[in-house]
Symmetry: C2
């Protein structure tokens, strides 16, 4: 009997934030592709000013009427085609109508934030000094919307690239603010509350520790660093060589009150080798003092990452000056690595999850600032992963493992290929 190999055998992983499972089929990356190819990098074809772009400085906006100002870093305005609006009649849902026809009114506001006056820039080729005003614009927008009684949640996000439905290539993000907390962050709060109740700790504080220590554990298995780490009193357990199946290191249990290993009676013995119960390998892409960027254990998109505050901050506006600089730093580094991975302007949807603005103290305490990057590319600048068929009807599914994705991103340079 061979041991279970996470790089070769199908398994599912649990996403504790959404409380759902993702199917991982790592042996499937070799299948042939006669399907759709994306256009690839269109960035080199873009001018730094496009007279027909409704987001460039001094141009006419999409609604035909207003002119954009001659802005120099960021520019925030109300979306001309908002998905939610502040001024609409109220709808009192009838509590006792057909349970299959439930509907509620949703009021809110939609803003657009231009990241740069230059039509051909992206976060990936902006400097940290240029990214700082974007962070300030996010904070200012959040702070001013938060005052409004009918705004209880503020969703900041960016769709980058045609493959991710971006309707205009000028570097920009959006802010959709609503009177209710949308499904995804609401679900995260429910699941973080459940974790907090069970473990008396913040889920994402624990996750940061897990990933940083897993990283140390893996490094410890290489001869070069083993001695150093042994000296710093880290128990590497029975881990011997990176390629051989190892028993679960006690470090992986560190967040449990009492690290309990399976008794050998229930643990299957495969030729005397204990099977691994979690994959080896780090999921850390890059980090600095304030932020950690990982491919989460439960990633769905091929090169999905999560940027987590190492400290338990509820929202962007709780950051001190150093943390703001560190966020600009980590944003530049991860978006640059993304572009370098396939040498193209790497498409993604990115969004910031932080405390709702409904005044609920419990929810504020639970909130742990983090960003999700959902990028669609799988094998190259032109072959993407489609979350369709089985994914929509059955369950989320990925091909390469999160550890393989993290390794490839960790190998990418932090100098942009177009400037190198």
């Amino acid at each position: 009997h061979a041991a279970f190999d996470f790089n070769n055998h199908s398994h599912k992983r649990f996403n504790p934030l959404t409380h759902s499972w993702v199917l991982c089929s790592p042996h499937r990356t070799q299948r042939p592709w006669q399907g759709k190819r994306e256009d690839g990098d269109e960035l080199d074809k873009r001018p730094s000013y496009d007279p027909s772009c409704y987001l460039c400085p001094r141009n006419t906006r999409a609604n035909g009427g207003m002119l954009n100002p001659d802005y120099h870093d960021t520019f925030v305005f109300q979306n001309d085609f908002p998905a939610v609006q502040q001024d609409q009649p109220s709808l009192i849902p009838s509590k006792d109508s057909n349970p299959l026809l439930q509907v509620e009114s949703v009021r809110g506001e939609c803003h657009v934030i231009c990241f740069s006056p230059e039509h051909d820039k992206t976060l990936a080729d902006m400097t940290e000094l240029e990214i700082r005003p974007v962070i300030d614009a996010w904070i200012d927008t959040y702070n001013s919307l938060k005052q409004k009684p009918h705004i209880n949640h503020i969703q900041i996000f960016e769709n980058k690239g045609a493959a991710m439905g971006c309707s205009n290539p000028h570097p920009h993000g959006q802010v959709w603010s609503t009177e209710d907390i949308p499904q995804e962050p609401a679900q995260e709060l429910v699941n973080m509350a459940r974790y907090q109740k069970q473990h008396s700790r913040c889920m994402l504080c624990d996750y940061v520790k897990t990933e940083v220590d897993t990283d140390l554990k893996v490094k410890a298995t290489t001869a070069a660093t083993a001695a150093t780490l042994a000296a710093s009193a880290i128990d590497t357990g029975s881990v011997s060589a990176p390629s051989s199946p190892s028993s679960t290191s006690s470090l992986e249990y560190m967040n449990e009150p009492e690290p309990t290993h399976l008794s050998t009676a229930t643990e299957p013995q495969l030729n005397g080798v204990k099977p691994r119960t979690t994959p080896d390998g780090s999921r850390v892409v890059c980090e600095n003092v304030s932020f950690l960027c990982v491919v989460p254990f439960w990633a769905t998109w091929p090169f999905e990452t999560m940027v987590l505050s190492k400290h338990h901050l509820a929202r962007l506006s709780d950051m001190n000056a150093t943390q703001k600089e560190d966020l600009a730093n980590i944003l530049r580094r991860i978006t640059c690595r993304y572009d370098n991975l396939f040498r193209c302007s790497f498409p993604y949807s990115m969004g910031i999850h932080q405390a709702p603005t409904n005044g609920d103290k419990d929810q504020e305490d639970l909130s742990h600032l983090h960003l999700h990057f959902y990028p669609p590319l799988l094998r190259s600048a032109t072959v993407r992963k489609f979350l369709v068929g089985f994914e929509l009807l059955g369950q989320a599914q990925r091909d390469l493992t999160p550890e393989q994705a993290a390794t490839r991103l960790a190998e990418c340079s932090e100098v942009h290929y177009r400037s190198a």
Copy 2:
């Protein structure tokens, strides 16, 4: 004060099958689009036999080794690049490891079902007689996989078109069978069980009744049919003209034990006109004696539809001969309407939800045979809806209302544009 207008004001609708909400922003369809355009119809360019296609009869398969038989209707084989496989070592999850690193093994089988030997056919241009063997292949595959002790759920689906990640344009579907019930159908069963417990009725039986009666109610508001329907003793309530805001018809409450209207004390009075609490308009696209095709009240994709068995059947194999013919009929009609909508080969992911094969009697009783169609096109053959940004980070969002989508599909011909 104007009344709430479901064609103009943002609202969210509850999906009882997934227990989640979708944001509907009907006023947003007019926004400009400078983003990605799909390639549109590639069907006319396709030959009926392609020597490089690994699904055409007599050709070499994707794995390079085997030859396809000279098949005449359908052809079923094991996927050469399966996402799940039967033969892999077992992984006993350690129950007490880090709760943030939960993983389980998933075994199963993946099959491909070619719908036709002709490379350029799709369900939309096959006759009902040609679709019948596809239904038989689904049933035969389900029945033979169901025998296997390690197969507890069988997910039949089709990805049609490059825009939906179809990796080969030859008409085909897939069957992914697993030892566990995937997320989506598992969630549906949980929610259907909750509904059954609360209402002592099947959720989807009730939904069929709701949609067919809503349809009758709407027809009743047109002068031509009002008299006929009045004669058949259907209470059209205070509905007067289709364009004026009407109070909720008592028919919409028919599934509640005692139809309770909101008292006028809590109901807001807008210039004496009561606001509508559910949108007017039918969601029925087409139907026959055995099946109903609707744009569900909670549809996420622009032209999403659901095909429901009118009888409470647990699975495809419970159909009698007439019901099989009726399924072929409704499949031809809805796929043909889809193609006619934008005069292109309309992309979608389609999947069949039916009883799991784990032997759980309660789950079999709960199951109600239905099919989901998730098509991405929004405005034309080349402009699709992207479920990105806010949709991934916040909440599912749609532009036109389900009623508007149903009206447009109901207006489409059932004679295919290429043969008309």
